[in-house]
Symmetry: C2
């Protein structure tokens, strides 16, 4: 099944992604091109308060030209561990520090063309830290009951893949209710 | 919250994606760059046999250099409706035609940098059609009980976002068990 790389052409090297086109040898000995978006990976966090509210963020997403509701998330810095990144992004986006932070899953968002892997965490025992957004991030924090948040998946108000996965997974495998 | 586009620079126009870089005006009147992967969208199908097996496909994914287990899926052709695409891709990838095919959700896979939207369908009342793979697709069909498939999410054998969403969503909202 494996596709052997014959040649690589780097098209673009950017701030958050690179693009390359690989020529590959298929199992039938024909060749084909694979357009591949290189991404350094990210984390996402299902953060649950002591009274069972889920922390969510609203932000404008230029790619889809919409304000989306998402769980806190962010890109891995170079050399940063997923755990450190989850701790940092949770504080940056919500102002809360997690005394309990556990990785529960790895997600490949778009394996057809993108290398991105998201490390999903569940955060509990939240304490107020200091809220300091990234300079060019404009984020509203909202809190919802888990079932309210799940309702927004069914109604189509929540459409982001990592957020849908985080909420459904938490409901099925972590929530007491 | 909205980011106004000041200028667009098209970097690449390809077979399955384009890349552009937008200069945007932020709410604080500063400017920033947004790297945006343009993708035409896709469909994915939770296809359930009359004896409650889920159809899944194994295929090599060059971007992540792994064989992944996924629900049947594929890109929208130009002008194609999501419904027609779901019907076509299910036949192409599994050899089954769905007598019942219902859209249940829209998913944005990576809103931070990509326009891709996946239309998620549930397919029932499957009948054998004719199996004809795309020329450069090499796919194994497998069937699993829903709970077996969910076990592969927990174990980390299933990592693809649309597949995780499809299986969890089906379990929570469509499955009788």
């Amino acid at each position: 099944m494996i596709e052997k790389t014959i040649s690589c052409r780097q098209i673009y090297e950017g701030k958050i992604l690179n693009l390359r086109v690989d020529e590959v040898l298929l199992p039938n000995d024909k060749t084909s091109l694979r357009e591949i978006v290189e991404h350094n990976g990210a984390v996402a966090i299902v953060a649950v308060t002591d009274n069972d509210k889920i922390l969510l963020v609203r932000q404008y997403r230029k790619a889809v030209e919409r304000v989306l509701i998402e769980i806190p998330a962010g890109k891995l810095e170079k050399e940063e561990t997923p755990y450190d990144c989850a701790e940092r992004e949770l504080i940056e986006e919500t102002g809360f520090r997690a005394n309990q932070l556990k990785k529960v899953m790895e997600i490949i968002t778009s394996p057809g063309f993108c290398t991105e892997k998201i490390h999903l965490f569940v955060a509990n025992n939240l304490v107020v830290d200091y809220l300091e957004n990234d300079e060019d991030e404009f984020i509203d924090l909202i809190t919802l009951d888990l079932d309210e948040a799940l309702g927004k998946i069914v109604s189509g108000e929540i459409v982001d893949s990592k957020t849908i996965i985080g909420l459904l997974y938490y409901k099925m495998y972590h929530s007491a209710s």
